[in-house]
């Protein structure tokens, strides 16, 4: 379990930039909703600079890698729906693209 939001994500491999407020909010919401045993929020935005959906601020394209006991026995579709539901309006209004890898512990 993570003691604070600032430790619950790591800075994307593709970017030298510090992890921004959208990534922090993704991390915060997923931590609150799904109590992950492992969570990485990776900002892929830099590799999409200049094409549709990149708004210039950086944070638009993300990959979430999440392991949570809540996913045990759930289908892939159910797991992604749970992640999408936790992100709520963030997904609709702020995130252009989100790749999700969701596992239960031990998988």
């Amino acid at each position: 379990m993570f003691s604070s939001a600032s430790k619950s994500f790591y800075i994307g491999r593709m970017s030298e930039l510090p992890t921004g407020p959208v990534a922090a909010e993704i991390s915060r919401r997923l931590t609150a909703a799904l109590a992950p045993t492992r969570l990485a929020v990776i900002d892929d935005s830099e590799s999409h600079r200049g094409h549709a959906g990149h708004d210039g601020s950086g944070e638009s394209h993300f990959t979430v890698e999440i392991e949570s006991p809540a996913f045990a026995g759930q289908s892939r579709v159910a797991r992604q729906r749970a992640v999408n539901a936790a992100l709520g309006d963030l997904l609709r209004d702020r995130i252009h693209a989100l790749a999700i890898r969701a596992k239960a512990p031990g998988e």
Binding site: H48, A52, R76, V77, Q80, R81, N84, L91, R92, A97, L98, A99, I100, R101
Partner: protein, 109 residues
């Protein structure tokens, strides 16, 4: 969302054994996720149909409600929602997409 759009989507998903709602066309996908979905289907060697949601804003919005799934692409097999590109990739890597085609009697390479 109008019932008419939902009815059109229902007709579409039952019109082909394998149907992908995507952005762009198989030859010119307009999004990396749609491009990846097409690459998987091509690699499976399965016959599929596509719907370009960029050509129809009503379908683009309606498909998200139809499946309770917020993103595109979306794969349907025999009228059943399978998932988006992340799930397609996971199932492909696990051999489960081929299993799904076999279970439904759909020819592939």
């Amino acid at each position: 969302m109008s019932d008419d759009v939902q009815a059109r989507i229902a007709t579409a998903v039952n019109s082909a054994d394998v149907l992908l709602f995507m952005k762009g066309t198989p030859l010119f996908p307009q999004c990396g996720f749609s491009s990846r979905a097409i690459a998987i289907l091509d690699h499976l060697g399965v016959e599929y149909a596509t719907v370009d949601v960029l050509q129809d804003p009503a379908i683009r919005a309606g498909i998200k409600e139809f499946s309770d799934w917020p993103t595109i692409p979306q794969l349907y097999v025999k009228g059943e929602f399978v998932g988006g590109s992340d799930i397609m990739m996971e199932m492909y890597e696990a051999g489960e997409l081929l299993d799904l085609l076999d279970q439904n009697g759909i020819a592939h390479a």
